[in-house]
Point group: C2
Chain length 340, copies 2
C-alpha cells in the first residue's frame, strides 16, 4: 500500500489547521503571505496532492469531460477519431479538465450502461457527442437530466442545440460541378449507416446537387458502408464489378475513400483517370495517399476544441456568447479525381 499524504499531514507538520492549508493552496486571499509560502513549500516537499475523490465529493463536480466513441471496437487508429480526441484532450487540458474516453457500440445496451454510469455516477461534468443519430436517445437522455453536453451535428431531438455543424451543401455543389465538368455522369455514393446525421445530410446534399445538374442517380450506385477503410474497400469492389461501373465514387468520409483507393488499385484501375475518388473530412494523411485524395476538408482538430470550449461554457453556466457554430468544408482537389 502506497503511503497517502493528506492535507492533515501537511497541517500537522506546520502546526496549522487543515482549513488554512486548504485555503493557502487554493489561492484564497485571506491567508498571510508568509503562511502561504510555507504551506506551498512544505506541501511540495511532502509530495502532497489533493485526493481526487474527496475533492470531487465535496465540490460536487469532477473537472472531467467524457467522450464515448460509438464504435464496435476502439477505432483510435481512425485518423479522424485520433484528431478529434486530440482536440478534445488539448482544449480540456488547457482548462484544467481531464478527458475520459471510452467506446461502446452505437445503440447497444453497453452504451446506455456506460452513459448512465458516467452521468448518474457523477463521473463527468459534461459530455461530447458525435456521430449523432437522427433520433438520438443520448440527446433525449442528457437533455432530460439537464446534463451539459454538446454535439457535432445536431440531432432532430435536440431542442436546445449547443454544438458545431458542418454544412456539406456548398462543398458538395462545388465537388459535383467539378466532377461533371470532368465528364463524369455515372457517379456513385458510398455512405454510412442511414441513421447517422452526417450520412443523411451529406447524401441529401449529394442528391440535391445531382438533381439540379439534371444528372440521373442510379440506385445501384448508392451503397452503405460503415465509415471504415474495410467498408469502403468492400463497397467499391462491388461497384467496380458491376456491368456498368461508375466513373466516379463520392465517399461519405476519407477512410471510406482510402478503402476505395485500395479497391480500385486492386482492380488494376488508374485512379484519377479510369475512376475518380473523393472523400470528406480532410484527415491528416489524405494528402499523402497514393494518389493524393480529393476531399472536403473540415478542421477536425479545431472543431473538437471548439466543442469543448462550448461545453465548458455550458458547465460554468454563464452567458453563452455563441451556442452554435456553423462551418463550411473546403474543397481540396487532388489527383484521385484527376486534379484540376
Amino acid at each position: 500500500m502506497p503511503v497517502m499524504i493528506t492535507i492533515r499531514d501537511v497541517a500537522r507538520r506546520l502546526n496549522l489547521s487543515i482549513t488554512t492549508v486548504s485555503r493557502a493552496l487554493d489561492g484564497y486571499d485571506d491567508v498571510a503571505e508568509e503562511t502561504r509560502r510555507q504551506v506551498i513549500e512544505v506541501a511540495k516537499e511532502m509530495g502532497y496532492t489533493p485526493n481526487r475523490a474527496a475533492r470531487e465529493l465535496r465540490r460536487q463536480r469532477t473537472d472531467t469531460l467524457g467522450y464515448i466513441l460509438p464504435a464496435d471496437k476502439p477505432q483510435f487508429a481512425d485518423p479522424f477519431i485520433a484528431e478529434f480526441i486530440a482536440g478534445l484532450g488539448d482544449e480540456a487540458a488547457a482548462n484544467n479538465f481531464d478527458l475520459l474516453v471510452s467506446t461502446a457500440p452505437a445503440e447497444s445496451a453497453q452504451e446506455k450502461t456506460l452513459y448512465q454510469r458516467w452521468v448518474q455516477g457523477g463521473k463527468v461534468d459534461g459530455l461530447v457527442l458525435n456521430y449523432t443519430r437522427l433520433r438520438d436517445w443520448r440527446v433525449q437522455y442528457l437533455a432530460g437530466l439537464k446534463k451539459p453536453f454538446v454535439s457535432l451535428e445536431r440531432s432532430l431531438d435536440a431542442v436546445d442545440f449547443v454544438g458545431v455543424e458542418v454544412d456539406p451543401g456548398e462543398g458538395y455543389a462545388e465537388l459535383i460541378d467539378y466532377l461533371i465538368g470532368m465528364g463524369h455522369s455515372r457517379i456513385a455514393y458510398v455512405g454510412g449507416w442511414r441513421e447517422l446525421k452526417i450520412q443523411h445530410d451529406r447524401f441529401a446534399a449529394f442528391e440535391r446537387c445531382l438533381n439540379s445538374a439534371a444528372v440521373q442517380i442510379d440506385p445501384t450506385l448508392v451503397l452503405e458502408g460503415d465509415l471504415t477503410l474495410e467498408g469502403g474497400y468492400q463497397a467499391v469492389l462491388r461497384l467496380l464489378s458491376l456491368n456498368r461501373p461508375p466513373t466516379a465514387v463520392v465517399c461519405v468520409n476519407d477512410l471510406t475513400a482510402i478503402g476505395a483507393l485500395h479497391a480500385a488499385h486492386e482492380m488494376g484501375l488508374r485512379i484519377g483517370r479510369d475512376v475518380a475518388v473523393a472523400g470528406f473530412d480532410g484527415i491528416m494523411g489524405a494528402a499523402h495517399t497514393n494518389p493524393p485524395l480529393t476531399t472536403l476538408d473540415q478542421p477536425v482538430y479545431t472543431i473538437a476544441r471548439k466543442l469543448v470550449s462550448l461545453l465548458l461554457g455550458l458547465i460554468s453556466g454563464g452567458e453563452m456568447p455563441e451556442r452554435q457554430v456553423r462551418l463550411q468544408p473546403k474543397l481540396m482537389i487532388r489527383e484521385s479525381t484527376g486534379g484540376r
Copy 2:
C-alpha cells in the same frame, strides 16, 4: 444542475435504511430475498447509480488503471498504440476496471506532474508503462511509493520487475540470416531514441547478428528516428541519398518501416528488389502496405491484455503465479524484402 439520485433517495422511497439498500445492491447474503428484489427494482426504476467519488473515497480504491502515453502529441493514430490501448481497455473492462489514458512528452515536467496527480491524488490503483527508458524515473518513483505498476520491457531500475519482455535476439538472427542469404551486405538500421529500452535491445541484437555473420556495420548507415512514419521517411530519404546507399534497411518498428517504404517509393526504387525494408511489431495493416511489409510480429493486443492481468494481480496483492512473461517475436517474410 442535473438531479443526483443517492442511496438515500432509494432508501427513503422504500422506507429502509441506506445500509440495507447498500447491502442489497452489493449482493450481501444477509438481506431478505424479497427486500433485495424490491431494492433492485426501485433502484433501477429511479436510475440510481452509486456515486463514484463517494465510493472511491470510502473504499480507498478507484478500480481504475492508468496509462500515460509518452509522446509529444496524442499519437492514437499509431496502430501500435491503438492496438495496445485496445488491449489494455478490453482486459480492464473484463475485470470491471476503467482505463484512464493521457499523453505527456517523455521526461517532461508535464509527465512528472501527471504521474504525481494520478498517483498521489489517488486517481488510479495501478499503472502500465511502455517505451521504458534504460534509466526510468517512473520506475523509481512508482517503486519508491510502492504503487503497483507493470511495464512492457524492464528498465535497468526495475528491482522487482513485473511485466512483459519481448526478446528480439532470435528474431533478428533469423531476419539477418535471411537478408544476408538474399545477398545483402550493406544493411542500414533506423532506430529510435537511444535511451529507449527497445532501441537498446533491438539494436544490440542487430549488431550481434551482423558481427557473428562477419558483416561490417557502416556507422553512416545507422540513424536515429523517432518511431514515427515521418521519422522513418526522413531517415530513409537521407540513407538513399548517400553515395553508397544501403541495399537493406532494418527499422526499429513498423511505423518507421512504412515511412521507409514511402521514401523508397518516392526515390523511384523498386522495394524488395532495389532495396529491402523490414519492420518490427506486426501491426495491423503491415500485411497490407504496398508492398506488404516483412516484420517481426509480436502480439501487441495480447501483450497489453497480459500486462493488465499482471497488474490486477499485483493490485489485489495475492499470490502471483507468474511475474514476468517473456516472448519471442515471429518473423513474417513478405515482399518488402523480396519475399522468400
